[in-house]
């Protein structure tokens, strides 16, 4: 443990580098799109001047979308890291306990009913929370519970949602299908306002800082944690609750974007070691950076046509993750 526990000031340079990468990704995202805007014009717009079309493009379209991408990526990566600690299972990701399935059923029902995008987002959030509460209640059951029990309950509930989703896709009228499929693949075109997700990301990153040490102990096993004076049950439930809320917000913002929540925490552990005080804020920054870059590519590769962002996150993430894994043998 002594090796993992570096002093806080020694963690700062790493976070500064990741923060810089995050800012660069946001700058790149804001300056690229199907309309070419050069850096001089961009500067004018950011200073409150510039062409009216450029102002609309940057301030009303690109900036909110880039911030939403960043926040969503950060939320998913932090939620994934928390789930991996909670379940002590490297395959855990934010969706493993069925949360995205619940959100999808909510969102697709609203789409089938022909309701507007605000209602779609709202019912996605409600679906996610219903799923989280159901899993919590059932895994809690008659008292004793273990991560395995929680995981099994979640996986089975997720399969149940999967069946409902397939059923809805099968009976949906043709014209609704593209919208439903794009939602399931995850897409930042749905992002309405980046602020809730962004504030949640900031708030949680700050809240988790003092918990880092307890999480480090918990990651080594509940018995050791209890022996070292950590209140395991309350800690585990607050992890579950936090991860669920973060995932619900992410899914509500941009649909179920895969891969970020699974791979970003692992990549960072391979690079930085398994110190949660560093990993969690690093996840917020690196997850955000990855999704911002992926979304920029998704909307520019074959512009003006758009690709689903999930394709790009996987295309970027799989080779870099395999490389890190190979190097770390």
């Amino acid at each position: 443990m002594a090796a993992a526990e570096r002093s806080l000031p020694r963690l700062l340079p790493t976070l500064l580098v990741l923060g810089l990468a995050a800012l660069l990704s946001l700058a790149l995202s804001v300056s690229t799109g199907s309309v070419a805007i050069n850096s001089g014009e961009l500067w004018q717009v950011l200073n409150g001047g510039g062409d009216a079309l450029h102002r609309t493009l940057i301030l009303e379209l690109r900036l909110p979308r880039s911030l939403a991408a960043f926040a969503t990526g950060g939320l998913l990566a932090v939620a994934g890291a928390l789930m991996q600690i909670l379940l002590r299972n490297p395959l855990a990701d934010p969706y493993v306990l069925g949360l995205s399935g619940g959100a999808a059923v909510g969102a697709l029902s609203a789409m089938l009913a022909g309701l507007g995008s605000a209602v779609v987002s709202g019912s996605a959030f409600v679906g996610a929370i219903v799923s989280a509460v159901t899993v919590f209640g059932l895994a809690h059951g008659t008292g004793s519970w273990t991560p395995t029990r929680l995981l099994l309950t979640g996986v089975v509930i997720a399969s149940g949602w999967g069946a409902v989703i397939t059923f809805m896709l099968a009976v949906a009228p043709t014209e609704n299908l593209p919208g439903m499929l794009f939602w399931l693949m995850g897409d930042l075109a749905y992002a309405r306002s980046p602020w809730p997700a962004l504030f949640a990301l900031l708030g949680v990153s700050l809240l988790l800082l003092p918990l880092g040490r307890s999480l480090n102990v918990l990651a080594r096993g509940p018995l050791q944690a209890a022996a070292l004076g950590v209140a395991v049950k309350p800690l585990e439930w607050s992890i579950y609750l936090t991860a669920s809320l973060l995932t619900a917000l992410a899914v509500t913002t941009a649909g179920s974007i895969g891969f970020v929540g699974l791979v970003v925490p692992h990549m960072l552990r391979l690079l930085l070691g398994n110190d949660q005080r560093l990993i969690l804020p690093a996840c917020a920054l690196a997850g955000g950076t990855l999704l911002t870059l992926a979304d920029t590519l998704a909307r520019t590769i074959i512009a003006p046509e758009q690709l689903p962002v999930g394709v790009i996150t996987a295309l970027l993430g799989v080779p870099s993750f395999l490389f890190l894994l190979y190097r770390s043998r």
Partner: protein
């Protein structure tokens, strides 16, 4: 005894089969895959395997011969009462067989190929339809009329459609071009390229699809591309037949020429997106809207 009669029986059998062949050749048309479809007699029990086919059969005067349809067959009103045999992308073979149809109107690019092949292997006759433009609508009406024995009504409907389209073509052939954005869906934002039926209608009215050169028939684009193209008019369908919410979303982009001139027009999607005789209504409405846009210059 047997030796004496058998040549006679053979001759009778031969005559009967010849007569059958001659009789069958009475009702023959080509379908859209260029296959010859022949019926022994005009079809009396037809099943339409797409909502569009249902609409075309009604227009061709074959309402009485039409015995079943697939889900979402919602036009005309009477179609809603037809027995259902599943949806266009997955039909119930057993209920189709139990209805003993003598003709199925399939949809070449929309129905599952294996299920159509299976129906044919079971001895049913399938007419493959694939409508891509104005000419296909009138041609299909005539062919369906021949197959159902309702030529008079079908040909009249086809003539009406053709003449209506021709009249619009004459009226707008020299109209000044209007750059148009055709929005077919909102989340994700989708439009069509020049291959699409909607674009054929747009061209006829003197409109120019600003996204006509995209490689895919139905393409997903972003708001940025629309702002960059800055169309003079935006034409949108919507969820349901009278829902203008997609158009109102554009009002926040005050830099758009279409917004400044209030050239945001709604057209019921089923009249412009389905290749049926109602396409004439949708096209007529589109032409009027584009003319309104010209008047606001």
């Amino acid at each position: 005894m047997r030796n004496i009669f058998s040549p006679l029986l053979w001759a009778l059998a031969l005559f009967a089969s010849l007569a059958g062949t001659l009789h069958a050749s009475l009702v023959c048309v080509k379908d859209d895959t260029e296959r010859e479809i022949c019926l022994a007699a005009p079809a009396q029990r037809i099943i339409a395997l797409s909502p569009g086919a249902t609409e075309l059969l009604y227009a061709a005067g074959a309402a009485e011969q039409l015995i079943a349809a697939v889900s979402h067959s919602d036009y005309p009103e009477a179609a809603k009462a037809l027995p259902r045999v599943g949806s266009y992308n997955r039909f119930d073979l057993e209920s189709i067989l139990s209805l003993q149809p003598d003709l199925l109107i399939g949809w070449h690019s929309g129905n599952p190929t294996e299920q159509l092949a299976q129906l044919e292997a079971l001895g049913l006759t399938v007419y493959y339809s694939e409508l891509r433009g104005f000419d296909d609508v009138s041609r299909t009406l005539r062919r369906l009329g021949t197959l159902a024995g309702t030529e008079a009504r079908a040909n009249a409907a086809a003539d009406d459609f053709q003449q209506g389209i021709e009249a619009l073509r004459r009226q707008y052939q020299h109209a000044k071009p209007v750059p148009v954005f055709q929005q077919i869906w909102v989340n994700p934002l989708m439009t069509v390229n020049d291959e699409h039926l909607i674009s054929e209608a747009t061209r006829l009215c003197g409109g120019v699809n600003v996204f006509g050169a995209l490689p895919r028939l139905a393409a997903r684009i972003d708001h940025e591309a629309v702002l960059a193209a800055n169309p003079e008019a935006i034409i949108a369908g919507g969820m349901g037949e009278d829902n203008r919410s997609w158009l109102n979303d554009w009002r926040s982009f005050s830099g758009l020429l279409a917004v400044q001139r209030d050239n945001l027009f709604f057209i019921p999607p089923s009249t412009l997106q389905r290749p049926t005789p109602r396409l004439l209504d949708g096209t007529r409405l589109l032409c009027q809207h584009l003319d309104t846009a010209r008047g606001r210059r």
